[in-house]
């Protein structure tokens, strides 16, 4: 087979549907990455327009441009859109587009999940836009503090749009994070051991892990607040055993890591581009990896620095102040590694490099003002002033937008396969840089003069007039600059001058392919021996196109790839991907019905949507099975691998591990909330305690013991080639017992609207019940599989996956039941 035949064959196997219909059925990471990025930039423009409205309003004293009610919506939506609908999705889009290419494989781990995540993002984002168009957008500030955001002080639907819409969007963040984690750990080119991974992959991996542990507290907070607003469960009402500070803890437990979730991918972009711009290699690869890891961890110990003014005891303040100063160290390590890289190389002032310099200058200042506000007495002065908004824009714009602009200009030739023709970009950079600093330096200053954030207007006597006008003029210069970048990019896409391959002379794998990229990325997969494969082997692209790598011969109509051992990069499984389908968009539409029903309080459509999603999930997973065993398959170069469905640690198992990590964080946050209310909230002890029942507790506990044992039994019986229906049925029975015990607990809990104690127990019980139902669904699925002949001693992957979920259900089931019954038993 010659290169052209191979290309044709692979294209028929891998191509998405032609035309715009293809958007709805594509599961290809290149398509979806581009869709993510375009949508995210659409939201960046909307958020930017809102920023312009803010600056128009503040340009003059006593401005009559917008009233306070509208102004509240404008700044809330600006912050919300920029954080949730621009920054995070931009990372997801970039990672989805780039990772398989840079790791030398053909797609991400779960292609349909990529599509599902995209559509959840698109639908959730549209909900927010609808709210804005109708003038009922959220208006409580981007961190939505109760009691302001509670039903008493914000009776309208505005806040519900935030809580429900953002949770919907978060589904896409969690989906992408699971996907990215498994892809980086398992879906790499053979030979790419951990130390040979491109640095961007390390950053993306760390960011994804942070999303998995950082977002669940926010999702929990949103669920609790929405339940409080809709049904009156008093989680955040101090007079009924709740505490509004609980929200602040949950929010910032997410919110501070969020800042690093935004910064780390940008740092990944910098670490990738900078060495190429300086014609050298990255200095201190191991140090950078360690520093990024340290940063990720430390950032989880800082959340209280957003709460320095809430009256927390001194020692608590001191812990978080100390930890906050500590993060400057790993950030410094990275900055020095970058400076060292520049020192070592020969920097060339090409366009991406200009944006990187813009980053350095801005981010260092942002970091310094950050250390200033980490010092408690200073923060008491600056809290809630324009100084803080100025600081956060130095970090976010400097630390994210400049690097992303650098990334856009760097990878644009890859996306389009074209050369930049018009040279608007340099001028645009100058305008953005000057405009940005004028706007936000002025805001630091006026903040120190006492201007609070989020005020719709001020008086001439305040003496802030001139500074605000300067700031607003600066912001218009900035906007013109961003507009020019947009025009530059559009012109680039439209002008037809083909570029050459690898225009920057980079060493990473994404340039070892024709551009724009093909649906299958690589005609055959490379074997990696160093961190910069293209430097060692400049015509790698040609060799791969000739089919000299792995999996060079298309088989059947399979979309094939392989996975590797995490540490060593030795190939370990053969994978067949699903192909184009509309299932993801359908499923996210039904998911949307669920959220919209909650929003509009159409509660009778909620169960319909839940059942709909369950049916679709069933179909989704059912399609993965095989009716007969597959012998180990050759991948070329004399290696044969078992198919993923014939192993214990299949991609689905890995995906479950990381999804359960996020889930466990959610549950952990719920327990934290319970303990927090119990020990800190006023209004405790509750008027009545839960009445313990040995029967219920005993039933639940025995279910929790039966389930895991039965699953292990089923697995070992199946491994011996015998029928394992009995074991699976026993596991189903165990799940039913847990479910019944949790349902009884919800039924008998003290009235959840009278005290936060009952409310929390109710939520704990529903968490247990939900997982019990999930385990029932899964074990029933397994029984159906066994009966229909989809399992065998070889085809065993599903036993491990479902076993994992049954184990998890048992553990949380026990904890939930103990939390309810134990206090009563002890008394």
């Amino acid at each position: 087979m010659n290169a052209l035949e191979r290309h044709r064959k692979l294209t028929t196997i891998w191509a998405s549907e032609k035309g715009f219909k293809g958007w709805f059925s594509t599961v290809n990471h290149t398509d979806l990455g581009r869709m993510f990025l375009v949508t995210a930039f659409f939201f960046f423009i909307i958020g930017g327009l809102l920023a312009m409205l803010i600056r128009v309003q503040l340009a003059t004293p006593h401005s009559a441009f917008a009233g306070p009610e509208i102004y509240n919506q404008i700044f809330t939506m600006h912050g919300t859109i920029m954080m949730f609908l621009f920054a995070i999705p931009t990372f997801e889009g970039l990672a989805i587009y780039l990772l398989p290419k840079i790791l030398g494989t053909r797609d991400l781990a779960f292609p349909r999940l990529t599509a599902y995540g995209y559509w959840c993002y698109a639908f959730g984002g549209s909900m927010m836009l609808v709210a804005m168009v109708f003038g009922i957008a959220p208006n409580g500030g981007w961190f939505m503090y109760p009691p302001l955001s509670s039903a008493i002080y914000s009776p309208g639907i505005n806040t519900d749009f935030w809580l429900i819409g953002i949770t919907f969007v978060e589904i896409s963040a969690i989906a992408a994070a699971v996907e990215i984690t498994v892809s980086i750990l398992k879906y790499r080119a053979p030979g790419m051991s951990l130390d040979k991974m491109p640095i961007f992959a390390w950053y993306a991996l760390i960011t994804a892990l942070m999303i998995l542990t950082g977002f669940p507290p926010l999702i929990l907070g949103s669920v609790l607040l929405e339940v409080e607003r809709a049904f009156g469960f008093p989680f955040f009402q101090a007079d009924l055993g709740g505490d509004s500070l609980l929200w602040q803890h949950l929010f910032w437990l997410f919110g501070h890591p969020e800042v690093y979730i935004i910064f780390l991918p940008a740092a990944g972009v910098i670490s990738t581009i900078l060495p190429v711009m300086c014609r050298t290699t990255l200095l201190g690869y191991g140090w950078i990896v360690a520093a990024a890891l340290a940063l990720a961890f430390l950032s989880f110990g800082l959340w209280v620095h957003h709460m320095f003014t809430t009256g927390i005891p001194h020692m608590g303040l001191a812990f978080f102040s100390a930890a906050s100063t500590l993060v400057a160290v790993p950030t410094g390590v990275q900055i020095f590694a970058w400076i060292g890289t520049m020192w070592k190389g020969r920097p060339e002032l090409r366009l991406p490099m200009l944006h990187l310099l813009g980053f350095f200058f801005t981010f260092v200042i942002g970091g310094l003002t950050g250390v200033m506000v980490a010092v408690v007495p200073f923060d008491w002065q600056a809290h809630d002033t324009a100084f803080i908004t100025a600081h956060l824009h130095y970090v976010l714009f400097g630390g994210f937008v400049f690097p992303i602009f650098a990334g856009i200009y760097y990878w644009l030739p890859h996306v389009t396969g074209r050369r930049r023709f018009f040279r608007l970009g340099e001028l645009a950079f100058a305008l953005v840089f000057i405009g940005f600093h004028v706007t936000f330096l002025a805001m630091h200053w006026v903040g120190l003069l006492g201007q609070r954030r989020r005020i719709p207007t001020y008086a001439p006597e305040d003496g802030w007039t001139a500074i605000n006008l300067i700031s607003s003029v600066g912001s218009f210069v900035l906007a013109i600059g961003i507009g020019m970048i947009l025009i530059d990019v559009i012109l680039h896409v439209l002008t037809a001058s083909r570029g050459r391959r690898n225009p920057w002379g980079a060493g990473t794998l994404e340039w070892a392919m024709p551009t724009p990229p093909l649906a299958y990325n690589f005609a055959s997969l490379p074997h990696i021996t160093s961190r910069d494969p293209l430097v060692d082997e400049p015509d790698l692209a040609v060799q791969l196109a000739r089919g000299e790598g792995y999996l060079g011969t298309p088989r059947n109509t399979w979309r094939e790839t392989l996975t590797v051992d995490i540490a060593s990069g030795k190939p370990d499984m053969h994978v067949i991907y699903p192909s184009n389908t509309r299932l993801p968009i359908l499923m996210s539409a039904v998911t949307g019905v669920f959220f919209v029903s909650l929003l509009l309080k159409f509660y009778w459509t909620v169960p319909v949507a839940v059942i709909g999603v369950a049916l679709l999930v069933w179909r989704w997973v059912w399609g993965l099975g095989r009716g007969a065993d597959l012998a180990p398959l050759s991948i070329g170069h004399g290696i044969t691998l078992p198919n993923a469905g014939m192993t214990d640690r299949s991609p689905g198992w890995w995906g479950s591990v990381f999804l359960l990590t996020a889930n466990a964080t959610f549950f952990g946050s719920l327990l934290f909330g319970f303990a927090f209310l119990w020990t800190v909230a006023p209004g405790w002890p509750p008027p009545v305690w839960f009445d313990p029942s040995m029967t219920e507790l005993g039933a639940g506990l025995s279910g929790a013991i039966i389930g895991p044992i039965a699953m292990r039994l089923a697995k070992s019986v199946n491994g011996k080639g015998r029928n394992s229906v009995t074991g699976a049925t026993m596991a189903l029975f165990g799940a039913i017992l847990i479910g019944v015990a949790c349902a009884a607990m919800m039924w008998r809990t003290p009235s959840p609207v009278d005290h936060a104690y009952g409310a929390t127990l109710f939520v704990l019980g529903s968490y247990g019940l939900f997982h019990a139902c999930l385990a029932m669904l899964m074990t029933s699925f397994l029984i159906a599989r066994i009966v229909r002949g989809f399992t065998s001693a070889v085809r065993r992957a599903e036993f491990s996956i479902i076993g994992l979920w049954v184990d998890y259900t048992s553990v949380i089931g026990v904890l939930v039941l103990l939390a309810a019954h134990l206090p009563g038993v002890l008394q």
């Binding site: 130390d195 540490a567 020990t679």
Partner: protein, 106 residues
């Protein structure tokens, strides 16, 4: 997976002990605790004891990560896990040092 574990363990333990000590402080302040041990008020004694334990655990982890029996076979993973090991220890010492000298519950 083992290598990932080696890299993550020390900072994870830091996070756990940081939260635990913060929680302990909350508990001590929520419940009236009084008494004197070794010339220290009981609250302070508890907190300092927890602090010392947290540091001890980190030291054990570092020793383990350096020991030839438990360290990773890959030099790169060894390097990164040593670095994160030190991060865990330093972060523990630095972020919890307030238990020694700031006032509690005020």
């Amino acid at each position: 997976m083992k290598d990932i574990f080696r890299i993550l363990i020390a900072p994870l333990v830091w996070f756990a002990s940081f939260s635990a000590v913060y929680g302990l402080h909350g508990l001590l302040c929520g419940h009236e605790v009084s008494g004197v041990v070794l010339g220290l008020p009981l609250e302070r004694a508890y907190l300092v004891a927890a602090y010392v334990c947290a540091i001890a655990v980190q030291v054990v982890l570092i020793v383990a990560l350096y020991s030839s029996r438990l360290a990773s076979p890959s030099p790169f993973v060894r390097f990164v896990s040593h670095a994160t090991g030190w991060v865990g220890l330093i972060a523990t010492i630095w972020s919890l040092v307030p238990v020694v000298f700031t006032t509690y519950c005020g």
